[in-house]
Amino acid sequence: MITRLLTGGEAVAHAMRQIDPDVVPVYPITPQTPIIQTFAKLVADGGAHTQIVNVESEHSAMSAAVGSALAGARTITATSSQGLALMAEIVYIAAAMRAPVVVALGNRALSGPINIHCDHSDSMLIRDSGAIQLFVENAQEAYDVMLLATRLAERPDVLLPVFVCQDGFTITHSAEPVRLLDDDDVHAWIGAYEIPFPLLDTAHPTTQGPFAMPDYYYELRHQQVDAMAHALDAIEELGAELEQLNGRRYGLVEEYRLDGAEHVLVCMGSTAGTAKDVVDQLRDEGEPVGLLRICSYRPFPEARVRDALASADEVIVLDRADAPGARGPLATELAAALYGSGMELRGHVYGLGGRELHPDDLREIFAGDVGRFVGLRGAACLV
């Protein structure tokens, strides 16, 4: 194991070099570009045997990825924002055809107005696509979860595309010390790529992606619901297994100082890093606060969330995406999970288009001194 100073994008590229996928069809887009740029150099230097396919759009990137993954080749791609929007049609196809494609996502605000900075609106666009979405807090976790995602996607009881979601710029472009596993350990942990019906197995020809009429569409969709249920267990199992290798634990959620916490903040991504510092400060000041970080957004670990929040009095949900005409997507999810419990819940939207969230903002959020739209100039329109 060595420690290197890497950005989140570079850390993912190093994970990809060690995973050594057979095919990477990819199209550049800020802030994902450092991932494929770094990886392409590593491949050119002989670090991986990967066939990089320079496609002409993200729609083509995901189309090629689905074909490649189903043909029998381990496949990874990467994107952000508008790229994911263009890819979205095929993300649904990937999930339905059970193509275990891993996607490194640098979360970035969707246009418009056009913007290159972080929020989670791109992830929310594919919320119900059937793809797994795992959010990470920092570059180290981006590296770790790429490894986990590869195993997760390929589990016979899962077989779904997995998005590893890291905050654009905040993680993709920020350097920090990242501990890399030895290549041999990664190779041994990842293992060989195996899927039930590789298209290139010409001795056993198959028809894949068949048309389904009203008599079968519903049942075939339900297989994805079943795969997501298996993913809930698989994420915990693989997290525990990976911990044996690297000493760090990734799971469905992270509970931070929830013992005796009456006011619990719920968020995803890099904001959790800032929130942990603020929780520590407030605890030192005697405030009974805690943090619940949602790591797996899809599948949403409803039971785990309910258990983790069982003894809280108030839940404060931070959404880094808005939903014009409705409540924030994460707040809605929490409200559904806690329905009937009588728990106080308030949701806040923050950080859109890369707007910074400072520790003082979080102190005000905990104190309840802010409206639903944190940091918005001008009185908010409430739905």
Binding site: L159, P196, T206, Q208, Q223
Partner: protein, 94 residues
């Protein structure tokens, strides 16, 4: 299509993948519209134009010789009768 038992989601192959010899073979000829082709083998010259034009692969072959029509899949479109240069195929009432 009557007589097919619809499967549950657990019974269906993952993603609806169809493997060889497990595909359903419905009798699509069941919705033929009243006329079926009948071939006069004494008039047939094995030119195989009917085989080439048949949109449903219903023309059966024995090597390179015409060997009849599979009425399980024939829809009665009459194209074979139309293209036959010797008039060996005639449409007759079911």
């Amino acid at each position: 299509m009557s007589g097919l038992t619809l499967k549950t989601w657990q019974e269906l192959p993952t993603a609806g993948v169809v493997t060889r010899h497990e595909e359903l073979r419905p009798r699509t000829g069941a919705y033929r519209t009243g006329l079926r082709p009948e071939a006069d083998l004494t008039a047939c010259v094995d030119c195989l134009l009917c085989w080439l034009y048949c949109p449903d692969n219903a023309v059966l072959l024995d090597g390179t010789a015409f060997a009849g029509i599979d009425l399980e899949v024939c829809k009665g479109c009459e194209i074979c009768a139309e293209v036959c240069p010797t008039g060996a195929i005639e449409m007759v009432a079911e």
